[in-house]
Subunit: 346 residues, 2 copies
DNA sequence: CTGTTAGCGCTTTCAA
DNA sequence: TTGAAAGCGCTAACAG
């Protein structure tokens, strides 16, 4: 309430008076709902003209209050500051604005310890409910299980890039397995049979899924996955470097390496070049995440798998739309493809 | 109005009834304004207790309607999809949320032809005004002169990373000259006296300012700027590559190169390495923009100048705060520092 | 210190 | 085909 924003605007009554009709009629005409049918063409024209000349602009607040509902969605998320996952917000924002609607974004627990986070998220949900948002998108930076404030169960809520342990809330997650398969299949298609895999922390969904995809692709192609070619990086470039070195030192070294993220690919590139090998000539590399500034600028540019952040965000608002309009037949778990992005490292 | 979001909530009347007081009193107590002083401690406690047990949550809409004002700011911008300048939104969002307030973001004319853009921005402003935002932030992807929809002059509006030709609206822009000076001074401090400058399109504010900074630094140090060491890149890596080559072929080649953006630095790196020179040993490089994924991952990591996007966004909402609370003494033109980010290329 | 009263600008039965 | 009237949940004079 910082300010009395007083641009004396024309109200609906003004329009009614100018058009010589009642407020009700104006409402019918201007809200363009089904009720406008009951109004004569002539009246409609008069009303619209009056509105035009008066520069009438509906008051969203009054409308929402009277209608007892808004068409806003809230977003609670830790990722406002995360450069890569901010794409989720962007995707949601685009989809919302396409419908000329607004998203209220509440940052939650960015960099806070886990305990404080839940409290902050509760606060965020609280503020959002005060604004009577019609639904909430809850988005995480990295794919994992989360526990959300109970408040969120009071209205349509969709989880993005995460899922709740009890599996009650609808969620939208990347198809990690499919992504891992895409990466590995690309390598197999290029003729490789000895394919190393540099893993993330093996407990997180991304690691589990991508590894599974690696296996699946082998099996689908009638190949035997070499488990001794699986090695843990630690998600960093240095980790990727070390892991790649280990792979290269293997008795029968891989002819291709699938890195579970782009950052590790970066380190792997260094290791490979250090050994005097050329990419993709001597050894092929595929990454994961499609962090464009890494994958696009490595030399050679990295073939990788994209995490569909924007799509998940957009699908999130569409799912909320469905939920809000009463479609209760929403799948609890929607998976979005992680497509291969071809560059030059295979 | 997608949905009747009907979580039957406790209203202020409910609280009043439960506490045995009038709605007015509840309003005074709960809104925590100055008027709460006139209420006895005992009553306050009773009211708060009642609110607590009823799970009362104020209705932001009703409040705003009655108070005839909101504490929301709108953002109209083309940059929702621009990865680097999206930082502006982030900075604004952070500052707003710090005050527990919301930003309504309207994307405008993203990738549209210039003509359509103004129309879309008008629409965006329109929608924002319908929500009765208390002020608007208008942000551009790259520093330039813009013309904004007239509607925006009807309420507090702050331009970010751009300025209007007539200089009427308050704007927040990066201090390009200072940035150019920071870059060049760093080079001079390292002992360089032959400093090449790879420019952007020489007509845009960024190019003009950064070049000016390059000159200023020379003069401040008592050095003569070598105008024949100024060469135009075209803002791309390839352009930087070509420009650097030209510089290297100069009769008395520079011992340091200041590139007007990081992308061109990338190309310059290639040219330099191709010539068998080492950075920073044989030749130093400084960039501009601090596109972390470029500057952080080049080898060696690039010393560059940061564009203060987040700060500009944050300052934008603070400026709006000042404007909204009646401080009419706002400088029309606020410049934000472009600090040097030290890495290893000098 | 507390309550009465009158709206804010719109939607929405219900009746004409 | 149109209008009257009753709110939506809250704020803010003004009175006591």
């Amino acid at each position: 309430m910082t300010r009395l924003n007083h641009l004396p605007r024309a109200t609906m009554s003004d329009v009614a008076r100018a058009a010589g009709v009642s407020r009700t009629t104006v409402s019918f005409v201007l809200s363009d709902g089904g009720r406008a049918n009951n109004v004569s063409e002539a009246t409609k024209v008069r009303v619209r003209e009056a509105a035009g000349t008066l520069g009438y602009r509906p008051d969203g607040l009054a409308r929402a209050l009277a209608a007892k509902s808004t068409d806003w969605y809230g977003v609670v998320t830790e990722i406002v500051t995360d450069p890569v996952a901010a794409h989720v917000i962007r995707g949601a924002q685009d989809e919302a604005w396409r419908q000329r609607r607004f998203l209220l974004i509440a940052s939650a627990g960015d960099g806070e310890p886990e305990g404080a986070r839940l409290a902050l998220e509760g606060l965020a949900a609280e503020k959002l409910l005060e604004q009577r948002v019609a639904g909430i998108l809850y988005a995480a930076t990295w794919h994992r299980a989360v526990s959300v404030p109970d408040l969120l169960r009071a209205l349509p809520t969709v989880l993005i890039n995460c899922f709740d342990a009890d599996g009650e809330l609808p969620c939208i997650i990347p198809d990690e397995v499919g992504g891992g398969r895409n990466a590995t299949e690309r390598l197999i298609r290029a003729g490789h049979e000895q394919i190393g895999y540099i893993n993330l922390d093996p407990m997180i969904p991304a690691a589990i899924g991508r590894l599974q995809g690696w296996r699946d692709a082998h099996e689908a192609a009638g190949l035997t996955p070499h488990d001794d070619l699986i090695v843990d990086g630690d998600a960093t470039a240095d980790g990727g470097y070390a892991a790649a070195l280990a792979l290269l030192d293997h008795p029968s070294p891989p002819t291709a390496i699938f890195c579970a993220n782009d950052r590790m690919s970066m380190g792997a590139y260094d290791a490979i070049k250090e050994r005097g090998l050329r990419i993709p000539h001597d050894i092929a590399v595929v990454g994961f995440d499609n962090q464009e500034v890494i994958s696009g600028y490595l030399r050679p540019p990295l073939t990788t798998v994209a995490l569909p952040f924007e799509q998940m965000g957009a699908l999130g608002v569409r799912t909320l739309d469905a939920l809000a309009s009463g479609h209760s037949t929403i799948a609890t778990r929607q998976m979005v493809d992680c497509p291969l992005v071809e560059r030059s490292s295979v």
